[in-house]
């Protein structure tokens, strides 16, 4: 097991270094960093001096490792457009994105898994069929359209919910939260459901497919033959054995919620990192793009690691094999 964990950690570090390399290449070679920092009236000598100060004349590898070292300490350089440290910008946007992603993940899990179990157990029920049809629409409808439709119905026509922004936020010093005010909660509802819908349908379909497969296996037939109550078969035996693939996909999906929040944040003008990223693409603000890339990669790597460790908790066979 230790061996396995060590290998996974090593792989994660490799992924981070590879992504760091891409981020560095973007930062260094897409556009000229000096031109983006100084005005028109800077002389060539001043430019050369700045270039030397920033170490842009150093060998490639030195620059790369300096970039990685700075990034590991949270220093991503200055934003070209806003003239502020990138870390400061991201820090101010991070709470909004994480709260939105957390809310959507909770919705996706707590609605998706029960719906999946239900549709697997009552395959031909009317409710199951409508869930399945809805899920097909959920997969085919692009996220941004769901958001637009929600804004149209609940924001413009019914005027129940605010259509943009985060509402009032309470500043806790290092974290600004929308969970403590009424307008914060109201503003959260539509973006959170928009973001959750796709992951929810995916989780639901996955749980359903896995349940159906497990219910066909011999040990379930044997459990039936033993006369165990249906409830126990379904939840004690079947559900438990569907969990490994469900955890894998769900974990990966939770990571992509943070990335997909780019779209939802743009639709609802939610002041998070995703909106910052889109704005930075529009204005070719490379340091912000590079920092966002590294951060998302970091989230993904951490989530993947946790998912792999969860396997050991869920599947006893792995523990036996590896030790």
């Amino acid at each position: 097991m230790l061996n396995f964990i060590a290998r996974r950690v090593f792989q994660s570090i490799f992924v981070m270094l590879a992504v760091g390399f891409i981020a560095f290449a973007m930062f260094r070679y897409v556009g000229d960093p000096i031109n983006n920092m100084v005005g028109q009236d800077t002389t060539l000598e001043q430019r050369a001096e700045l270039r030397r100060q920033l170490g842009l004349d150093d060998p490639f590898l030195v620059q790369y490792f300096r970039f990685i070292g700075n990034a590991a300490q949270g220093d991503f350089g200055m934003s070209y457009r806003q003239r502020r440290p990138v870390s400061e910008l991201i820090e101010s946007r991070m709470p909004a994105t994480l709260e939105l992603s957390f809310a959507s993940a909770v919705i996706a899990l707590f609605l998706g898994i029960p719906m999946g179990i239900y549709t697997a157990l009552r395959r031909d029920g009317v409710l199951s069929r409508s869930f399945m049809t809805l899920s097909l629409i959920g997969i085919s409808l692009p996220t941004f359209l769901i958001g637009i439709l929600m804004i149209l119905f609940f924001g413009v026509m019914l005027r129940w919910l605010p259509s943009f922004g985060r509402g009032d936020v309470v500043d806790l010093g290092w974290w600004s939260t929308g969970f403590l005010t009424k307008s914060g909660w109201q503003s959260l509802i539509m973006p959170a459901f928009t973001l959750a819908l796709f992951q929810m349908t995916l989780i639901m379909r996955l749980v359903r497919a896995e349940m159906l497969e497990v219910l066909q296996t011999d040990f379930i037939k044997f459990a039936r033959a033993r006369g165990l109550p249906e409830r126990m078969i379904n939840f004690r035996h079947a559900l438990k054995n569907t969990l490994v693939p469900v955890i894998t996909i769900t974990g990966l999906q939770l990571g992509s919620i943070i990335a997909f929040s780019i779209i939802t944040e743009t639709v609802f003008q939610w002041p998070g990192m995703g909106l910052l990223f889109i704005q930075s693409i529009g204005s070719v603000d490379i340091p912000v793009m590079a920092a966002y890339l590294l951060l998302i990669a970091f989230f993904f790597v951490i989530i993947n690691l946790i998912v792999d460790l969860l396997y050991f908790a869920v599947d006893p066979r792995l523990r036996v094999q590896k030790s």
Binding site: L136, P142, I148, L149, S163, I278, I281, I286, L293
Partner: protein, 305 residues
């Protein structure tokens, strides 16, 4: 000869399964209608949305024909520049389909080639290609497409960017989707590589490239077809999403996503039709392609029969 092919097609399992699946027939008809409408847009659309001479800003933001302020010239109303929505949608689905098909083709060629090489060569080549695939697979395709678009913006001069945006988009979406093809083809190639006909071909001294192209490729293409169909729906939606986010097709030659983006800013003044109609067209297109892909996967998989 043609007759023989036709009768063989008519008697095939695929056709049988198709004619007995109402979902497949309906979605094929819908997809075909949209494709024909897009292909013949200059012939069937009532106006030319790109002809600046016929546009009149006084015609801007007219609601569809059935509402009180509708205009009989514009069936689905007009957008903020006075373009007829129906024509704009027909021309827009043309661009959406073009980008979708081209990027699927691009992913397919890159993915299948790398998959074949990876599966046949094995060893170090295989592990390098698959490591790259692993790293890429750990990010959502949309993020990769966004990044490539952002980098292209930085590298290209501003005046070139708008005219090249179509190709940048195809490249970005294409690159973001190759991994799935490569993985599937690699797996199938590793199985085929050890079969006798491949060994025989190797024995008679055929070059690896010829073996891959003439012998292995035809045997691994089945699943690729299914992936390509489902990927087409994904690519169309990705294009629409990027254009909606403002990093895709510029508003001068709008795709469906660009039209929705234009309409989005008029949503609060009640002009819902500018984004809702292109949205419906997009969903119909994506849904019908998706359903066709689902059907094809089931029809080609003998285990499910």
């Amino acid at each position: 000869m043609t007759r023989n092919v036709l009768s063989r097609a008519y008697n095939s399992d695929i056709f049988y399964s198709f004619s007995h699946s109402p979902t497949a027939i309906v979605s094929a008809v819908v997809a075909l209608l949209i494709c024909l409408g897009a292909l013949f847009a200059p012939l069937v659309s009532p106006h030319n949305p790109f002809d600046l001479a016929t546009l009149d800003l006084l015609d801007a933001n007219i609601p569809p024909i059935w509402s009180a302020d509708g205009d009989s010239r514009f069936l689905l109303g007009t957008d903020d520049q006075g373009r007829d929505m129906l024509s704009a949608i027909l021309y827009g689905s043309r661009i959406s389909l073009l980008v979708g098909l081209a990027s699927v083709l691009f992913s397919l060629v890159v993915g299948v080639s790398l998959g074949l090489i990876s599966g046949y060569a094995g060893g170090r080549v295989d592990s390098v290609i698959m490591r790259i695939a692993d790293v890429q697979l750990s990010f959502p395709a949309i993020l990769i497409a966004l990044l490539i678009d952002g980098i292209a913006r930085g590298l290209l001069p501003r005046h070139l960017h708008d005219s090249l945006s179509l190709y940048v988009l195809i490249f970005a979406i294409g690159i973001s989707g190759w991994v799935q093809y490569a993985r599937t083809v690699r797996g199938a190639t590793m199985v085929e590589r050890n079969k006798e006909y491949v060994q025989a071909a190797r024995l008679i001294g055929m070059r690896p490239f010829t073996i891959l192209r003439r012998h292995i490729l035809p045997n691994v293409l089945g699943p690729v077809l299914v992936i390509a169909t489902i990927h087409l729906a994904v690519a169309i939606i990705t294009e629409a999403t990027l254009s909606f986010l403002g990093v895709g097709i510029p508003p001068t030659t709008p795709s469906l996503g660009t039209l929705i983006r234009i309409g989005n800013s008029y949503l609060f003044s009640g002009d819902w039709w500018i984004s809702i109609f292109p949205g419906i067209a997009l969903v119909l297109l994506a849904l019908s392609v998706n359903l066709l892909g689902d059907w094809l996967r089931d029809a080609l998989n003998p285990k499910l029969r």
